[in-house]
Amino acid sequence: MIGRDRGWLLAAILVLQACSINRYQLGEPLAAWESDQARGTSLDAALAQLGPPLHISAQAQGYLLAWEYWEINEEKLGLSLRALGADFLSVDFGDAETRGEFLVLSFDREHRVVDSRFQRWRADAGSGQGVQALVSVISVVDVDDLTHRLLQHRWGAFNLAPLAVGLNRQQDLSTGENGLQRRGTPTRAGQHSTQMGRGDQ
């Protein structure tokens, strides 16, 4: 009888906890690129080796091309009575990690590389723990700001943007004329801080 009770207790513990794993893969890994030998490389050769870039922006003496690749791993572990219909207490743990590659090439007006930089990274994207009553209203880890669509889909949309964004048009990244930035760059500081939280995503 005691053994049966232990069995039910073990089953209940298994049922009451949950694990959630979200994996994102954005783009494809970059082809090998030797930054030391990049200077003077033609646009044609760069495109043949790397394919079309994911970002492009004009600059004063030419233009920038950039390629990036992201892997995002988000793991959450929760202990809750939700499965039994009684969601009055939940304990949550979360952890997120990113891996990626980023390459930016700067071209002059003669379509030759004048500067380049490549980075490969593996980084902690955040973690958290929480005990919440009634409803789990806060996610202890969040990667939504890293998984947005590319800005090309929003080209021209600044004409319909809120005033705070429209007035900052000189910093709008979707035009392809005001620089570029990687995923995950905070928008509440720097060139988009005047947009009052309505930064580029």
Partner: protein, 121 residues
């Protein structure tokens, strides 16, 4: 004993009903014919910007590069596969960027171009 068997059956049925799987696709952007054959008519030094626009339609982005212009076409495809169990959920999302870029000189003549459709449909 009979009650225990019934409860056990209900528990198994309950677990089975709560399990599931999911799959979705999410496509955004401009879908054009990305196979190489669609691009063989384009020649550096002779194809004009109008030729490209006629063949592929309006781009996702048009950029002034300082020494000409660039047309950028983007079709973003995301495929998600999920396994939803009572105490284990897993979701994998894979995003491909089908894209092409065309560089034109100040006379709107094609200088360089590149395209890539890296992943399966």
């Amino acid at each position: 004993m009979h009650l225990c068997s019934r409860l056990r059956g209900v528990a198994i049925l309950w677990l089975a009903l709560l399990a599931g799987c999911a799959q979705y696709t999410d496509n955004r952007g401009i879908e054009v014919t990305w196979d190489e054959a669609a691009l063989t008519d384009f020649e550096r030094g002779s194809t004009t910007r109008q030729d490209v626009l006629d063949a592929l339609g309006p781009p996702s982005q048009l950029i002034a590069t300082g020494s000409g212009t660039a047309l950028y076409y983007l079709y973003e495809r995301t495929r998600g596969d999920g396994l939803i169990l009572v105490f284990y959920n897993r979701f994998d999302r894979n995003t491909h960027y089908d894209r092409a870029i065309f560089f034109f000189d100040e006379q709107d003549v094609l200088r360089d171009f590149s395209s890539r459709s890296p992943g399966p449909e």
